[in-house]
Symmetry: C4
Subunit: 481 residues, 4 copies
C-alpha cells in the first residue's frame, strides 16, 4: 500500500515508478523496451499515468510485458482518493471542451444516411489525438485519397429487364457466412474513439451478420473481444508477426485457442509509415491550449518522436519475413486458414497463390504506409486482366477507400470475394458505439442491394467483369485531398 | 356534413380520418397501402391534409385508390371556413418567406438568355422541398454531373463555305413532327414547382411545336394534361409498369383511350435511387425553422424514411420485367409505338432492337438511380462505334445533362434522332409557368439553328458522325458537382 | 440650322430624327435597315445620339448608308452649345466614375511585363460595355478558354549546345516582312476601348515592324486607318462579305484602291455567336446604376436583343458562300493574295488548298462563334500529322488564345508561318493607346527570342515539329474559365 | 582616408564613387561592364552601397573585377562611424519588420517534419527580394510546378516478404561516396537568405555525408566555400562558362586548384529566363512601403530592368557552346570528371554520351529558364524507354521538383544514380542555417530508407524499373501553381 509521496520519489530514468489504475509499477528496466519509447513514460515518472495509458493498451498488456516482480502493489486508499480527486478536478483542455460541445450537437442516428455522414460526426466528436491517429496517412495523404478516387474511374454497364424483386447479397468468406460481401478490416486502438472499444465492432458485426478481423494492436485483449460475442460469431485475427518467432508463435497459439477462425498475416507494415498528422497532433493540441500567436524560444523543445503512435505499435515486428520461410512456419503452427494482408502488385499475388495460402487481401494499409502504392482497386483490375487464373486459386479481397455500396460492387464485379473497411468502422463506433456500427452495415446493405438491382443482378454471382468499364477520362470524385 | 370536432376524434392508426379539399376521408385501411408510408398520413390524422396532399397527388388519386365507401362527404360550411381561416392565418415558415422574397426579385423573362439562367431563377423561387426533389440525384450526385460533363468531351469539326442562310431544325419523332429535335422527357410532380403543374409544359410544347412525354407520376391526372392541349398536339406516355399486370393494363388502356401517342416503358427505375438530398430536405427545413445551433436529445426522433418522395412514387412497380415477358405483353395490349426508356449499355440496346421495339431512350434517369451508370452520350458514342446497325432498326434518343443547343447537336451527329430534357422543363415552369417553358424552347431553337449554321449544316440530315471528335483531354465543363 | 425643339418633334418610329455631331439626320426609313435594330435608335429619337453612335461607327458610316437627302443639315449654334452643355453637365454613371478611378491607378507602362499584365490593366480601365464586348465569347466561354488551355498540352524538347548568341525571329507573311512571326488579327470596334481606335494598332505595328489585319467592322474608316501609317507599311484587310455581291465588290475595290495588301475572307462568322456577356452588359450597367437589391415589376421590360453588338455588325453578311462560287468570285475581283480566315478542321484546310488560295488562318473566331469548335493549335496539330503536304501548298496561320512567346513558338514548330493575336491588341490600345501596342510587341519579341535561344534555334527555320510533344497528361494552364 | 563629403562629390554617371565595407571605390568606368546594369550602382553613387552589395557578391568580386587602381582606400574613422550610425538608425522597412516578426514565430527545428514544413518557414523569414529570387521561375511558373507534379504520375509496385531489417541507402556519385543518393544542386546567392551563405550547405553536407555542387554564381568565393569544410569532403563545381575562353579557363583552373572534384557544365541557362516575380519584387516592396491605393503619375518611373537578378548573373556567359567545340575544350583543360547540366531531351542525352562526358544532369534549371521544357522525371522516363543503353555509358542524375523520399526513389528505379535538390537547400539554410541543411538531409534519409523498406528493397541496387508504373490518370499532387 503506497502513498503518493513514496511513489513520487521514483521519478527519474534510473528509478522510475508509475501508477496505473491505483496500482504501482516499477518500469525502470522496461523503459528501454517500451515500443513507444521511454520519453512518454518518463513524463509520468513518480505519478499517475492511467489517463494516458488506458486508451492505447489492452488490459493484459502489463501482465504480458512486465514481470510480476515489478508489480509493486496497490496505492493506499487515501492515495487512491487523492488521485481520483485530482483527476476529477483537473481543468479540462480546450480540446476536451470542444468534444463535449460536439457530443451535444451530434444529430440523431436516424439522420445518418451515408458513411460520409457518419465520418463527419465522428471527426467532430473525436479528440484531436484520436482523429489524427485514425485519419492520418503517409506523407501528403495522396495514397489514401487516391484509394478512394480510384473507384470513381470505374463506371457501370447496368442491365435492364432482369428480375430483381428478390435480391440476395449474402456470400461466404473463407467458408463463413456473411450477410453482405463486406468485413471489418483490422484497425487498431478503437478505445481512442470510444470507451467500449473494439467490442463495439464485434457486437455490431454479430447483429448484422458480418465478420470482423481483429488487429494484433487492438486496445482490448483478444480474449475480451471474442468474449463479447457468442461463440457462433466468427472472428478473424490480423497478425503482426513479432520478430522473435517464439513470441509470434505464442500469439498465434493464443488466438487459435481463443477461437479465432483465420489468420491474416500483415505484410504491408513492417516499418512504420510517415504519418505526419499523427506525429504532429500533440503539438497542435499544445498550441491550441497556449493560444496564438506564439513566440518560440529556439531550442527550448527537445527532440521529438518521428514515428508517432503507429511506430510504437510495430516496433518489435518482423522485418525479415519471406515467402520461403514465413508462410511455411505459420502453416506448421496452425490449421486455421491463412490470408496474406497487404499484397500490392500482381507479381506478389501470384507468389501468394504459389505459396498456397487461402486468401489475399489487396491493401496498401489504407494509404498509411508507402505513399504512391497503387490503389487496391487498381491492383485488382490489373490482376483480373493479367492473371485471371489467380482468382481460381484463392479468395481475393481488397480494402482501402471504400465508402459506398457501388464501391463494393465494382470490386465484386472484378472478382473480389469481399471488401474490407477499416476507418469507417472506427468512425462509426466513435460516433455512436455499437449502434453506429450496426448503422453503417445497414447503410451498406441498403446501398449494395439497391445497386445490385440497378445493375440487374439478383445475387452475387450475377456480378460480372463486363459490368464495369474503367473509363478513360477523369470523373469527379467525392474524395478530396 | 362534418364538423372539425367530429373529424378530430379519428386521429389514430386504428381509426384515421383526414380532410382534403373540404371533404372527409376514412383512410384507416388505406394506411398500409399508401406508397409513401403511413407515417406521413398519420401526421395529419383527424385534421386537414390538403396542403401536403395537393402538390404530389393528381386530383383523381382519391377516386382511383380509395373505395367510394371511404369518401365520407363534405365538411360543414363553418368547418370549411375554419379550415380556410387557419390556412390563411398560418404563420409562414422561413422557407416560405424566402420564396416570397425571391419571387419579387425574379428578373423579367427577357433577361433569361440560357437554360442555366432559367435554372438559377427556379432554384431561388422553389420551396426547399421542391428544389430538393427536382435537383436530387443518386448518392453523391456524381452521375448527374458526369451526364453533363460528358458532353464537354465532344468537340466539333465545323465545316465552312456551305450555304446555311436557310436552316431547318425540324424533324419527326416516331412519325410525329417536332419543330426541333428535342422533347420534354417524363418528369414527375410539376405541381411542386408551380400550381398549374404539368399543363404548363403541355401548353408550352404546343406553342413551340415540340412533344411532351407525360410521366405516370404526374401530379395532374393524365386526362387533365391531355385536355389542356388541342387533340392535334401529340403527347407521349412514360409508363411505370405496376407489378400487377391487370393494374398496369388498366393504365395503358386509359392513356391509349385518352389519345396518348406512344408508350415509353421505364426500365431504369425499378427500385428507388438513393437520393439523400430529397430524403434530408424535411430536416433542413425543420432545422432552419428552429434555428442554429441546435442541441439534440438522443433518440428523440423516430426512425426516418430513407427512400424519400421518389421511393413512394414507385413502391408498387414491377421489379421482375424481362425482355421475353414484358415487351410482348405490352405489344399485345396496344397498337401504340413502344419505346424503352432507360437503356444504359450497348448490349441492352441490341436486345431492344431484337425485341422489336420502335425506339430506345438511352437514359440513366437523370443520374437519379444507379450512381456510376455511364452518361447517355457516352453510351450513344459506344453504340455508334460498336453497333451502328442498331440505328437502322429503331429510333434512338438520349436524355440527361442537356443544357445547350450544342449538346443536342452532338447527340444528333452521333445518330440520335432526338434529345429529351427533364429538369430544365420543371425548372422553367416553376420559374415562369407556361411562359418559361416557351422561353427555353425558343432558346434551344436559337442555339440549335445557330449551331447548325456554325457547323455548316442546313438541315438535320447534314449532321454527321465525322463532325464530332471525342477528345483525349479533359476540357472545362460548365457542370459543377 | 435646326433648334432642339424642332428636332424634338420627330421622336417616333414613323418620324425619327437624330442629332450626331451637331448634324441632324432623318433616319425614319433607315430604322428597318439598321443592322443593330431600330430599338437602339428609337431610344434617341428627337435627341442627340452622338455618345452612343461614335465608338461603334466609322465616320463614313452615315455617308455610306444614309442617302444625302436625309442629311438635314447642322444644328443652330445655340442648339449645339446646349447639346455640349448638357453633355458636359451630364451626371456621370457609376461605371464612368469607376473607369476614371481606374485610370488614375493604372501602373506605369514599364511595369507591364506580360500580355496578362496588360489585359489586367485594360479590363479595369474599360467601360463595362467595352470590356463585355471584347471579352465575351460563345455560350459558356469554354472554347475561348480551351483555345488558350490547348497550348499548355504542348511541351518542348529543348536542344542545348547550339549557337544562339545571334538569334533572328523575323519572317515574311505573304511575302511581306515581319519583325516577328506575329500579326494583329482583325478585331472590331477599337474605339470602344480608346478614342484613337484602330490607328493605335496600325501605328504600333509600324513602329515594331509587324503587320495588322484590319476588320471590315473597324470603328474607323478603312481610309482613316491606312492614312495613319506611311504607304510602306503593309496592312491586310479582313473581309466580311456582304450578302449582296455588288456591295461586297464595292468594299473589295475600295480597300484594294486604298492600298491594302491582302484579303482575308472571313468564313467562321456567317451568323452571330451567342455572346451572352455582351448581350447582358446593358442590364449589368443599368442594375449597377439603380442599386441592389432590386424588385422587378413583371413585364415592365420590353423584349430584348439577343445577338448583341456582334449580331448587328454582321447582319447583312453572306450566309451562302461556297468553295465553288465565292473563292473564284473573289479571285476574279482582285489580284491581291487571298487568305481564308476561319478554317476549323483538316478537311476544310485541304479544300482550301485545292481552291488555290494563298493562305489559311486556322481560327474559331476567338471562341466567339461556335462553342466546342476545336482549338486552332489542335487543328494545326492534326493538319501536321494527317496532311503535312498542305503546308507546302499555302501559308498556314493560327489565332486564338495566344498570350506568350512560347505559344507562338509551339505553333511555328508545328508548321504555322505566323500567329495572329486579336484581343491582346484591343486590350493594349485600350490601356495605353499606341504605346500599349508597341509594348506588347516588344514583350512578345523578347519572349520569342528568349524562347528560341532556350530551344537552341537561332532562326525561324530551326523550329521543327520534333521540338514539341503533345503530352498525355493534363498540365496546369494559366487559362481560367 | 576619405570623408563622406569627399565621396559625395562623385555622384554622377561620369564620376561615380561608392563605399563598400568602409572602403571607397571608383566605379565610373566599371558602370558599363556591370552585369546588373549601371542603374543599380548609380542609385548609390557618392554613398555607402554595402547593404545592397553584400548579399549578392562574393567578397573577392571587387578584387577580381575592379583594377586595383580603382580601390581608393578606406574611409576616415569618423566617416566609418557615421556610416555605421546611419545604418544603425535607419528606419526599418515594412518588409524588414515583417521578417523580424517572422523570425520570432519560427517553430523549433524539431517540429520540421518535411521539406514542405521547411519551405513554409523559409518563405516567411526571407526578405521579399530573397523569396522572390529563390522561388521565381519562368513565365507563369508552370514548368516549375509541372516538375513537381510529374512525380505524382509514377506509382509504385511495392514488393512484400523481402528482408529489409537491414537497409542501406548509400551510393557513389562519380566515384565519391554519398550517404544517400541525393546531392545539393548548384544554386546561387545563398547569402540573400542567410548571412553565412553557401557554407551553411557545405557544412551541412559534410555532417550528413552528401555532396554539394557549388554554383559559379555563389555569393561567397569558391575558396571561402571549400575552406569551410575539411579537404576530405568532396565538392563539385557548377560551371557557367564565360563567353571569353580565357576567362572561362581561369575559372576552371581556379576551382581545380582549390580542390573541387568535378565540373558540371551548365547548358540550360545560356540566356536569362523570364522570371517576372524576381523582376517585379522591387516594385512590390516599394508599393508596400508607400501604402495603397496608389495613384501613379504616368511616365514618372524610368524604364525598368526586365531580366532581374538572374539576368545579371549570366550576362557574360557563352551563348555559342557546341558539342564539337566546348566539351573537347573543357576536356583538354582539366582531368576532373565532366558532367553536362541541363539536358532536356533524349536526343541530347545521346549526344552527351557520344561526346564522352562522365555524367549528365537532366534538368530544366528548376523551371526557371524555358517554360514548357519537359519535367526531368519525364525525360528520364523517355530515356529509360527509348535508350536504356545510355545508362551504361554515363551516370544520369535529375533535379527539379524533388521534395520527398519517394520522388528520389522513383528516379532511382528508372535508372538515375542520384537526384539533386536546389531550392530546398536554399530554403533550409535560410530558415535555420547549417542546422536546417542537416535537418532536411535527415528527413530525406528517413523517407528514403522507409520507402525502400516499403518497396522491399534493402539496397539501392534493388530498385528496379518494374517497381514504378506511370499511371494513365491524373493523380492528386501536392504541387500547386
Amino acid at each position: 500500500m503506497w502513498s503518493l509521496d513514496q511513489v513520487a520519489l521514483h521519478n527519474k530514468p534510473t528509478d522510475c515508478w508509475v501508477i496505473i489504475k491505483n496500482n504501482v509499477y516499477d518500469v525502470t528496466e522496461f523503459l528501454q523496451e517500451h515500443p513507444g519509447g521511454s520519453r512518454i513514460i518518463l513524463k509520468y515518472a513518480g505519478r499517475d499515468a492511467t489517463t494516458a495509458y488506458e486508451p492505447i493498451h489492452p488490459p493484459d498488456a502489463l501482465e504480458k510485458n512486465l514481470p510480476s516482480s515489478k508489480h509493486l502493489g496497490p496505492l493506499s486508499s487515501s492515495a487512491a482518493q487523492s488521485v481520483a480527486h485530482d483527476q476529477h478536478n483537473r481543468k479540462k483542455t480546450k480540446d476536451e471542451l470542444r468534444v463535449e460541445q460536439a457530443l451535444l450537437q451530434r444529430p440523431p442516428l436516424n439522420r445518418i444516411m451515408s458513411l460520409s455522414d457518419m465520418e463527419d460526426v465522428a471527426r467532430k466528436v473525436l479528440s484531436h489525438k484520436a482523429e489524427a491517429y485514425y485519419s492520418s496517412a503517409a506523407d501528403d495523404h495522396i495514397t489514401v485519397t487516391e484509394n478512394a478516387r480510384a473507384f470513381s474511374r470505374f463506371f457501370f454497364h447496368p442491365r435492364v429487364m432482369r428480375p430483381v424483386a428478390k435480391c440476395d447479397a449474402s456470400t461466404t468468406i473463407l467458408g463463413f457466412k456473411a450477410s453482405i460481401p463486406v468485413f471489418a478490416s483490422g484497425a487498431a486502438l478503437a478505445k481512442l474513439g470510444h470507451p467500449l472499444g473494439e467490442a463495439n465492432i464485434s457486437r455490431g458485426a454479430k447483429t448484422t451478420g458480418i465478420i470482423q478481423m481483429v488487429s494484433s494492436n487492438a486496445s482490448m485483449s483478444y480474449e475480451e473481444i471474442i468474449r463479447a460475442v457468442p461463440p457462433s460469431q466468427p472472428l478473424f485475427f490480423q497478425l503482426y508477426k513479432h520478430a522473435n518467432d517464439a513470441e509470434a508463435e505464442k500469439r498465434v497459439r493464443e488466438v487459435e485457442r481463443l477461437g479465432y477462425k483465420a489468420i491474416f498475416l500483415t505484410v504491408d507494415a513492417v516499418v512504420p509509415g510517415n504519418r505526419e498528422k499523427d506525429v504532429k497532433s500533440p503539438w497542435v493540441v499544445e498550441d491550441l491550449e497556449r493560444g496564438y500567436p506564439k513566440v518560440y524560444v529556439e531550442g527550448a523543445e527537445e527532440e521529438g518522436d518521428v514515428w508517432g503512435t503507429a511506430g510504437a505499435l510495430i516496433a518489435h515486428d518482423d522485418r525479415d519475413m519471406t515467402w520461403e520461410k514465413t508462410v511455411p512456419w505459420l502453416r506448421r503452427l496452425t490449421k486455421l486458414p491463412i490470408a496474406i494482408k497487404g499484397i500490392q502488385c500482381v507479381e506478389d499475388a501470384v507468389l501468394a497463390a504459389e505459396a498456397g495460402v487461402d486468401a489475399i487481401l489487396l491493401s496498401n494499409h489504407g494509404g498509411r504506409q508507402l505513399e504512391y502504392s497503387l490503389p487496391p482497386i487498381e491492383v485488382l483490375y490489373r490482376l483480373r486482366k493479367q492473371r485471371p487464373d489467380v482468382f481460381d486459386k484463392l479468395e481475393v479481397y481488397i480494402d482501402g477507400g471504400v465508402k459506398r455500396g457501388t464501391d463494393v460492387l465494382k470490386a465484386l464485379c472484378l472478382g473480389a470475394r469481399a471488401v474490407g473497411l477499416g476507418r469507417p468502422f472506427l468512425y462509426a463506433q466513435s460516433a455512436y458505439g455499437e449502434a453506429g456500427v450496426v448503422k453503417i452495415v445497414q447503410i451498406l446493405e441498403r446501398e449494395i442491394i439497391s445497386g445490385m438491382r440497378g445493375l440487374g443482378a439478383a445475387s452475387i454471382k450475377d456480378l460480372k467483369p463486363e459490368m464495369v468499364e474503367r473509363v478513360d477520362w477523369e470523373p469527379l470524385s467525392r474524395a478530396k485531398l
